[in-house]
Amino acid sequence: MLRYFAIRLFRALITIAMVVTFAFVVLRMSGDPAILIMGPEVPPEALEAFRKSWGLDQPIWVQYLNYFGAILRGDLGMSMRDNRPALDMVMDRIPATLALTVPALILKLAIGVPAGVWAALHQGTGFDRAVMVMAVAGFAIPSFILALVLVLVFAVTLGWLPSGGQGGVEHMILPVLTMGIGGAAALARFTRSAMLEVLGRPYIRTASAKGLPWASVVRGHALPNAAIPTVTLIGFLVGSLIAGAVVVESVFSWPGVGRMLVVAVGSRDLAVVQVILLLVAATMVTSNLIVDFLYGVLDPRLRQGARAA
C-alpha cells in the first residue's frame, strides 16, 4: 500500500516536471527570449546586456536548471502586458472560475450519476434509451455550440437571462448549465456502462440467487464496485475544473482563468500562459493522486498490494 502511493507520488512529480520541461522547451524553441521581450528594434548591446542579466548567455542546461529553480521558488515571471507577477494575476481570477465550475460539477454529479445508475438498472426501457440519446448528443454537441444555442434561446429570443458578463446569480445560470449538461451526459453514459458491467458479473447473480433482496444486492454489491471506475472519471472532471472553463468563459465573457488564458494566448503573454499551464497540471495531478488514494480505499485488491497497471 505504502509502496503503491510512493510510486503514484513519484509519477505525479514526474508529470509536473514534464510540464515544466514542456514549457521550457516550447519557450526556448519559439524564439530568442531577449528579442521576444525587448522587441526587435532594440540595439544589440542592450540585447546582450539583457541576456547577461537573465542568464541567457549560459549553456542551455544551466538555463534549464535556473528555470527549474525559479519555478520551485515560486518565481513564475511577470506578465508582459500588465507588468505584474503572472502568478498574482492568475490567482486573482481563480475565484471567478470556481464560482462557475464548482456549481457545474455539482450539477454534473447530481444529474449524471443517478441517471446512469437508474438507466443501468432499467436497461432497455424508455428512460435508458433517453439517457443514451442524451449522452450521445451531449458528446456530439461541443460546449461552444450548446452555449450559443442557450444564449439564442434564453437571452436573445426569450430575454430571460443575460447573454454574458459578471453580475448576479442570473449571469451564472447559462454558463453553469452549459458546463453541467455536457458533463452530466458523459458521466451518465460512463456510470451506466460501469454499472452494467458490474451487474453482469457472476457475484451479482450469486448474491441475488442467494435470495438477497435486489435493492440490497444493488446497494451492497453493485454500487461499490461500479464506483471504482466512476471515481476515475469524477477525478478527471475535478482535475479539469479550470481547463473546462476555457470555452464557456470565453463565450459568456466571464472574467475567469479560462478567458484569461485565451486572451493571453492571443497576445502571446507567455508568463501568464505558463502559470495557467502549471496550475492546470497541478490540479490534474493532485486530483489524480486523490483518485489513486480513493482507489486504494475502494479496491481491496490494491490494499493487498497488487500492482496497478
Partner: protein, 284 residues
C-alpha cells in the same frame, strides 16, 4: 443436395445495418464528397464580399440559399470550404496521431525497458493533461499556421493508439505468430509491419473512428476561440466563432456550421461505436 446458388434469385442485397448506421454513413459520404469537390460546388467564391448584400436571411434569395454574412459573403460557399478545411485538418491529424502512436507503441513493445517506461510516462502525461490547454500553450508560443495546426492536432489521442499497439504487440511477441516469425529469422520491421500491423489494424481503425470526431471538436473549439484556423481561411469552428458576434441579428451565420459540426461528430462517433461493438468490444 439441391444446388442452393441456382435457386437464389439474383438481386443486389444491401448489408443488414441498423438504420442509424445507414444514416451516419450517408451523412459521412455526403460530407466527404463536399470536402473533395468543394471548389467545384461553391456557387460563389467563398471570400467574395458584396456589402450591398449583407445579412441576407436563408431561403430568401435563390442565389444565396443559406443567406449571407456581415460582409455579404455567401454562407453556403463558406460552409462548403469550411467542411473541406475542417476535414483536412481532422484527417491529417488523425493519420499523424495514428502513425505516431502506433510507432511509439511498437517501439515500446520491441525494446521494453526504459524505452517502454518513457513511452508509457509520456502517454500518461498526455492523457492527464487537458489537450486544449496544451494546444493553447503551443499556439501561444509558436503563433499559428495550417501545417502547425495539423501537426499539433496530430498529437491528439496518440497515447490511445500507443497503448493499444503496445499491448497487442507484446501479447503477439510473447506468444504466437510473432514468435514464430521471429524464429524464422525475420527482421523486426518485417514482423511489425507485415504481421503485427495487419493483425491489429481493425482495432486501430476502430480507435481512429473514435478519435476522429474528438479531433473535429477540438479543432472547431480552437478555431471558435480565434486561435485555430485564421482568416481569410475558414473552418467550421471559425465560422461559428465569427458568427457569434451577429447572433442577435443574423443567427444563421453560426447555425449552419454548428449543425454540420454536430451532425458530423454524431455520425462518425455512432459509426465508431457500432464498429467497436462489431469488431472489438474490448476497446474502452
Amino acid at each position: 443436395m439441391a444446388d442452393i446458388s441456382a435457386q437464389a434469385p439474383f438481386r443486389l442485397t444491401l448489408p443488414r445495418l441498423p438504420w442509424y448506421v445507414w444514416a451516419a454513413l450517408i451523412w459521412i459520404v455526403l460530407v466527404l464528397v463536399v470536402a473533395v469537390f468543394a471548389p467545384l460546388l461553391t456557387p460563389h467564391p467563398y471570400t467574395a464580399m458584396k456589402l450591398t448584400n449583407r445579412f441576407v436571411p436563408p431561403f430568401d434569395r435563390w442565389t444565396h440559399p443559406l443567406g449571407t454574412d456581415e460582409l455579404g459573403r455567401d454562407v453556403l460557399s463558406r460552409l462548403i470550404i469550411s467542411v473541406r478545411i475542417s476535414l483536412l485538418i481532422a484527417f491529417g491529424a488523425t493519420l499523424i496521431s495514428a502513425v505516431l502512436g502506433t510507432t511509439l507503441g511498437f517501439l515500446a513493445a520491441h525494446f521494453r525497458g526504459w524505452v517502454e517506461q518513457l513511452v508509457l510516462t509520456l502517454a500518461d502525461f498526455q492523457a492527464a493533461m487537458p489537450f486544449l490547454i496544451m494546444a493553447l500553450s503551443v499556439l501561444a508560443f509558436f503563433g499559428n499556421s495550417l501545417p502547425l495546426l495539423i501537426g499539433l492536432m496530430g498529437l491528439y489521442g496518440w497515447e490511445r493508439y500507443a497503448r493499444v499497439a503496445r499491448g497487442l504487440a507484446i501479447s503477439a511477441n510473447t506468444q504466437g505468430y510473432a514468435t514464430a516469425v521471429t524464429q524464422l529469422g525475420a527482421a523486426p520491421q518485417r514482423i511489425y509491419l507485415r504481421h503485427i500491423l495487419p493483425n491489429i489494424a481493425s482495432t486501430l481503425i476502430v480507435s481512429m473512428t473514435l478519435v476522429f470526431p474528438e479531433v473535429i471538436l477540438v479543432e472547431s473549439g480552437l478555431s471558435f476561440l480565434g486561435l485555430g484556423v485564421q482568416p481569410p481561411m475558414t473552418s467550421l469552428g471559425n465560422m461559428v466563432g465569427y458568427g457569434r458576434d451577429y447572433i442577435t441579428r443574423a443567427p444563421w451565420i453560426m447555425l449552419s456550421p454548428a449543425v454540420v459540426i454536430v451532425l458530423t461528430t454524431l455520425a462518425v462517433s455512432m459509426l465508431g461505436d457500432w464498429l467497436r461493438d462489431k469488431l472489438d468490444p474490448t476497446l474502452g
